[in-house]
Amino acid sequence: MGVLAGNRRKRWRSEPQEVADAKRELQLKLWLLRIGILVAFAVLTGQLARLQLVRGDQYQQRAQFNQLRIEPVIPSRGLIYDRNGIPVVENVPGFSAAIVAADVPKERQLEIVGALERMLGVPALETSLKIDAARASNDPFTPLIIKDGLDRDTAFYMREQLGELPGVQVLVQSVRRYPAGEELAHILGYTGRIDSEEYAELKNSGYINSDYLGKAGVEAAYEEYLRGATGQKEIEKDAIGRELRTLGETPSRPGYDLVLSVDLDLQKKVTELTKAAAGDNQAAVVVMDVHTGEVLSLVSLPQYDDNIFSGKTDEVRLEQYLNDPRKPLVNHALAEQYAPGSIFKQITGSAALEEGVANPSTTITSNGFINVPNQYDPSVIYTFRDWRVLGTLDFYGGVAMSSDVYFYYLSGGYHEYGENFDGLGVERLARYARQFGLGRKTGIDIAGEADGVVPDPAWKEETFPGDIWVLGDTYNMGIGQGFLAVTPLQMARVVTAVANGGTLLTPRVVREVRDSQGHVIVPNEPKIEGSVGISDTNLAIVREAMRQAVQWGSANPAQSSLISIAGKTGTAEFGQRFADGSYETHGWFSGFAPADNPQIAITVFLERGVGATHAAPLASKILEYYLTRQQQRADGASATPSGVTP
């Protein structure tokens, strides 16, 4: 050892104390380093123990809440059948792309919205703004619809890509398809995405913000039945929202099915015949069962196709409908009101009989007009015209020939030039009009009805301040002109009441509600609103008068060789007066068949038509079709006798 270490030992010897100090100092520092390491791990252990041991339970709950979500199970919407059991709506799968803002990683947002633009053609900026808005809102977890109505290929392709698109979902929701399309659109209506107001109202009833609900027609009116009961399931989801497994489920109850009172076959026939009669004009036809108020057919022209609202709204066609001046989306049978013209004489006539103003042998002579002097200035004479000189008529003749003079007498009376005939007066006339259901909604199970107008002096004073009710107003009202406004559906109800002996029924397009197993939930029962307040004896006189109108009177074009029809035409003037004193007219017909044992009633309205020339033959063809078809069915089935006359 001594031999070997000469040089070094010298150095060691020269600075022994210093080296020893340095060594001690180094060891000290290394011990400090070791302590530093232990302190670092002690700090980490302390915080870890706080999280895992002290507050572990709390975090466990949070982790569970993360992973488990309660999701609504949307029930399948109820189906709808026509009265003969033909399905008129189908549920078909509809695909849409949605995004959950909370599940979109911020740093990948650009990439994701870009991919969506490529796949769906939805502008990236638009999607990005939507995501930002949802992030800023208090509910970033509910899916936002980015695009509706994806075709199957796109939807499947997107599904495969979902792993690359965190936050994106492909929703499969059932959407409605209406095989009959235009022919039932005004009755069935359509469904659409829930809007924010509806959602605010319904979110506690199991609706989700991407839900569909009925927006028009039966779909809207029977929403609570069609919808069914929302179920719940507890599912495990990963961070990008993929469902991994279902842990528990409260099943949903499917929506109830509806059976329409509408007869699809008749509806198609009525559509076909009415289109032929109306040409390009608006028209409405209502056919009702006189005993039950069931609507067998309800047609409004022009029609629209409710399938355009299924899934992705067909904006092009919607735009066409909205720009069409004939308003195809409006149900002219119940949402629009017109002057009824002479079909109102059913009411004036019944009221006059009931009030003793007239009896079947009351005769009045029509010289083609009556003159009434102004009550303040007798030199001013007003002339009220009949549609032609009709001579002396009894009640049957007055109705059959639709004499306006006859009904001027019955409504307003006539006390000039030595005559002294007391009429109903406006108050009684208005009262009976209301008893027949005019001036208010019929209560049919389709939304959007108009009220109509039954005028009286108070109404006129209110509507035209300073204008008082004059005799002429009563005359005009008595023949269904002037301020009176009705919907075709209201008039169908009027003729139904005349035909059934005075019962005012609430019209219905849905006959029965059933559950998915076929149990009846809401049975088929007539809804009676009340009585029109006319004795059946008096209504029988009116019915006979209407039978004669068809047999030999102004409604003769409704005559059928196969069935017996009773009815009343109307040709209502509207709009601006032409230079020759005439007006444009709407054509009406209200009637029922068989005349002696009424089964069904009809009201036809043709815009820019004439009652006798256009409306009456159309009504006749429809009644003929229905009753002969029923007869054939009855013969074919069991040869049960029916009310059809040969």
């Binding site: 050892m1 070791r34 980490l44 041991l53 949070r62 599940d103 990683p105 911020k106 961070a239």
Partner: protein
């Protein structure tokens, strides 16, 4: 006769075993953390676990080879290695690939290389060499300032990437090395005071929005619970919900349902804490403590200042990185993006640390037995 010239050939099996243990621990967590996104590891060689194991094997081979070479050969190479790693850092800044708002990678032969990880080791070696060479002048201001500059250059380069975490790693390893080398307390104190005053200002100025964001959401993750705060909240939930025993390997709901993001890198510790619980974390801590103590032991036994300072630098940056990554996971501090040594997915960090441990083995094994033969 020649005995004192011969190396001791000492090899510390504990360093190898703890390193292997940590790599295995990490590979297990990476496996679990990538189940949601990958199939089984046998399906593809590109699977993170296969890659991590491959890098681990390479790293261990490098460690074994390095332990056979005399670490002193590094002394003359240290400056060139340092300059080369600085060049790579600059290249990253100019042409590197960005992810999550910072550029840290270059791709060589299909493999992403993170130069900052390499620079940490080369900086340790150069600092050790320089201070060992100037052992006698260690108290001089010039030597002290030069050592500061050696660490500051890479620190600034990674700071502008921006990678604040790695930048702090350089500061910490420099601090540990100069203190052990025997720098003047006055000098060190002055730098500490200057750093304490300037750091907040400098961070504010240099840090990009992304770093500030990280800081803000660390303070209040609920301010953006679905965005930047999401990871922090979910990591905390993962760790907390693990409890004492954990939810079981590959049974962590947070991890497997992807609530935890970057669960093989930044949040790899959270995976372990959720699935293996407090117990699993304690095992991890024990492995690290043993490894670090063995590194400090190397420093104590090193023949010369060069070896001693290398060992101290390596120990310092490992302990610091462990502290900031785990601290970030358990919300002691903002998440920095620094890998958890030997555990996080990533080849650069894994290989360089295993290589550095190889150098430490070499320091042990190439001591000269003086005065005892």
């Amino acid at each position: 006769m020649n005995l004192r010239k011969l190396p001791t050939r000492e090899f510390d099996p504990l360093i190898l075993l703890t390193a292997l243990g940590l790599v295995a621990y990490g590979a297990a967590l990476i496996y679990s953390g990538s189940l949601a996104n990958y199939g089984s590891p046998s399906q593809a060689l590109s699977h993170p676990v296969s890659r991590q194991i491959a890098f681990g094997v390479i790293g261990v081979l490098i460690m074994l080879v390095a332990s056979r070479f005399d670490y002193r050969v590094l002394a003359p190479l240290s400056l060139s290695m340092y300059v080369l790693s600085l060049a790579m850092l600059i290249y990253v800044l100019v042409a590197g690939e960005s992810e999550y708002g910072s550029s840290r990678w270059i791709t060589v032969a299909g493999t992403q290389i993170q130069p900052a990880e390499i620079a940490k080791v080369t900086t340790v070696i150069l600092l050790a060499k320089f201070l060992a060479d100037n052992e006698d002048n260690i108290k001089s201001a010039r030597v002290f300032a030069t050592s500061l500059a050696i660490a500051a250059v890479p620190a600034v380069l990674v700071l502008v990437e921006p990678d604040l975490g790695s930048s702090l790693v350089f500061a910490v390893l420099w601090f540990a090395i100069v203190v052990i080398a025997g720098a003047r307390s006055l000098h060190v104190g002055a730098v500490l005071v200057a750093a304490a005053t300037l750091a907040p200002l400098a961070i504010w100025q240099l840090a990009h929005g992304y770093q500030l964001e990280r800081f803000k959401v660390w303070i209040d993750p609920e301010s953006d619970p679905t965005g930047a705060g999401f990871n922090i909240i979910q990591a905390e939930t993962s760790i907390g919900s693990g409890g004492f025993w954990g939810k079981g390997f590959t049974h962590g709901t947070q991890t497997q349902l992807d609530y935890l993001r970057t669960q093989t890198t930044d949040y790899v510790f959270s995976v372990g804490a959720e699935e293996l619980g407090f117990v699993g974390a304690m095992v991890l801590f024990a492995l690290f403590i043993i490894l670090l103590f063995r590194c400090v032991r190397v420093a104590g036994r090193a023949d010369d200042a060069f070896g001693r300072l290398i060992a101290v630098g390596v120990a310092a940056f490992i302990v610091f990185q462990v502290f900031v990554t785990i601290g970030g996971n358990i919300r002691l501090m903002p998440v920095t993006g620094v890998p958890l040594p030997l555990v996080s997915q990533g080849g650069s960090s894994l290989i360089t640390i295993l290589a550095a441990l190889g150098i430490l083995q070499s320091i042990l094994g190439h001591r000269r037995r003086r005065g005892r033969a």
